[in-house]
């Protein structure tokens, strides 16, 4: 790698266009959002204006965000995301493990099968789930033949969690696959040779050694779950609001942009917190990473 001073002309030609683009269409918009989060709607002749704002009036929006109603929704977003992440881990670990120990010729195909749904439009996948779970859907049809139902399976927390697991599963499988693939299998043999049972070997050897992949997967699934909007909107409806839905309402139906901006920043801080945790874990696991 060369020092940028050796070739400043090339350095700036390469660096300026993307940096300016990101500045104009990312950093400045976030700046607008940041200012908006500290603003209030303007009062014109004693009435709340629709489009006018008083800028930088204080932290009233943030205080409002800690109202029990919104705290409740935030807490719900966290636990729904945490549960969805845990379920993803539970199902993705055997999948990743199985792919690593599958025959070499099958590996690419199995990986493709895991990743492919991720490339299919999120909206289409959610729509497909609606068709499966709605009251006249396929699951209820099948239950009907056996004499059960029909059950209302949409518009509740279960539907949202199922949808999140369904949608974000590939994010969990890929980092797990990457670490399990790198795992030195002779450690497992050693553990089994020394009298460890399969279960002990898994808990004491495999899991600790693949911890970096587990942490990456958890973060990669948890972050998009926390900020999800479409899944709770279409599968949860009004009964399973998450923070993303509240933000959307402030910017669309409720037309309270300052409050929406404050909620967006709280969501971003939560995201950065999760990323910082991941960073700390990678620092700690440096010594034992295989």
């Amino acid at each position: 790698m060369e020092n940028w001073k050796q070739n400043p002309r090339v350095f700036w030609t390469l660096g300026l266009p993307p940096s300016l683009w990101l500045l104009a269409f990312f950093i400045i918009p976030l700046g607008f959002l940041f200012i908006m989060s500290f603003s209030d709607k303007a009062m014109v002749d004693g009435e709340v204006s629709i489009t006018g704002y008083d800028y930088l009036t204080g932290i009233t929006n943030y205080i409002r965000a800690f109202d029990p109603l919104y705290l409740g929704i935030m807490w719900k977003s966290v636990w729904i995301s945490a549960l969805a992440t845990a379920l993803c881990l539970l199902f993705a670990y055997p999948i990743a493990f199985g792919i690593c120990f599958a025959k070499d010729k099958w590996k690419p195909l199995l990986l493709l099968l895991v990743v492919l749904p991720f490339w299919i439009n999120l909206l289409i996948r959610t729509y497909a789930l609606i068709a499966v779970f709605r009251t006249q859907g396929y699951v209820n049809k099948i239950l009907g033949w056996v004499g059960f139902g029909p059950f209302e399976m949409l518009y509740n927390n279960f539907a949202v969690i199922f949808g999140l697991v369904y949608v974000y599963m590939p994010f969990m499988v890929l980092p797990l696959y990457a670490t399990i693939e790198r795992l030195d299998k002779s450690y497992l043999e050693a553990s089994l040779d020394l009298g460890g049972s399969q279960f002990q070997t898994f808990m004491r050897v495999t899991v600790p050694l693949t911890m970096p992949g587990i942490i990456s997967g958890i973060i990669l699934v948890f972050i998009p779950c926390l900020g999800s909007f479409l899944t709770p909107d279409l599968l949860g409806g009004a009964n399973a609001l998450m923070i993303g839905n509240v933000i959307e309402r402030q910017f669309k139906a409720a037309n309270d942009w300052p409050f929406g901006a404050a909620l967006s920043f709280l969501l971003m801080y939560a995201t950065f917190g999760a990323l910082a945790l991941r960073y700390l874990f990678t620092l700690r696991s440096k010594g034992v990473d295989v």
Binding site: N3, N7, L14, L116, W119, N121, I223, L234
Partner: protein
């Protein structure tokens, strides 16, 4: 004892365990059954789409004749094509910068470039909405004739696509043998000649894979488009969203199937190109 160790029975042959195979089958079934039924029922004659009544292509003709659906699909494809071009160029520039130079605060810059990847989509969507409205770009672009009225959405899509392209292209560049570049310069080639005839050909698979990634990301995006599109500009996901809110119809199945086919082809192509061919390991 040796008799116990026939192939597929060793303690580490997890791949041949029955319980793992069953679990695999179950998870893949859950993963694919909804999508397969969606595709299958796009050929169904039943209007309510619950029971299989017979094969037909009517839903496709109906979707094809639905002007607003076709308009949305065209918009999506146009946006994706233009955004892909810009995102690929910007992403390649970023990748080259990070690969070639040492500079102060490089770690911070790298983190900054990854921000659009990690930030919640909805936050980026509302930030861009605010920016477009306050800067007057929303009013400006909405008044322009097609396809210029898609400008806002294209700007937004380029912004979240190009950091992904940068990651893909950079991972390709890591394998580049820098001596080739030195040799080219020693032999009297200029910076530009070296770039164009040595580095670009090497980057090409990465560029194509990155471009296909940007294309699918743009085609798939709902949340950011939902916030940045004007009232008159509708993309395919936004259109499907408004239809889905009104209920399930086989027409949506047909249109979705078309989009699934497009994305699957693009993905499989991208994966083929991303896997380095065995011959060119330097």
């Amino acid at each position: 004892m040796a008799a116990q160790l026939k192939p597929g029975q060793g303690p580490l042959d997890y791949g041949s365990r029955t319980w793992l195979k069953v679990l695999f089958a179950a998870i893949f079934f859950v993963l694919y059954a909804p999508i397969i039924t969606l595709v299958a029922f796009s050929f169904n004659t039943d209007k309510r789409g619950v029971v299989w009544r017979g094969f037909t292509l009517d839903n496709y003709t109906k979707a094809w004749n639905n002007a607003s659906l076709i308009e949305a699909l065209t918009n999506s494809l146009v946006i994706a094509l233009i955004a892909t071009v810009f995102a690929t160029v910007l992403g390649a520039l970023t990748a080259l910068l990070m690969w070639r130079f040492r500079f102060p605060f490089k770690g911070a810059y790298e983190g900054f470039m990854a921000l659009p990847i990690v930030i919640p989509e909805i936050c980026m969507g509302v930030a861009l909405l605010l920016f477009f409205v306050n800067s007057g770009m929303m009013g400006l672009f909405v008044a322009l004739p097609w396809p210029l009225n898609l400008g806002n959405i294209i700007f937004a899509h380029v912004t979240f696509c190009f950091p992904f392209v940068a990651v893909v292209v950079r991972s390709r560049l890591v394998g580049f043998n820098r001596q080739l570049e030195e040799a080219s310069k020693d032999l009297g080639a200029s910076e530009w000649q070296t770039f164009w005839s040595i580095i670009v050909p090497y980057m090409k698979p990465g560029l194509i894979a990155g471009a296909l990634l940007a294309f699918t990301l743009s085609l798939d995006d709902f949340v950011i488009t939902f916030f940045t599109s004007g009232p008159e500009t509708v993309t395919f996901p936004v259109k499907v969203y408004s239809l889905v809110r009104r209920g399930v119809s086989p027409e949506i199945n047909a249109a979705s199937t078309v989009l699934i086919v497009i994305t699957v082809i693009a993905t499989v192509l991208a994966m083929k190109l991303q896997a380095p061919p065995k011959a060119d390991k330097v």
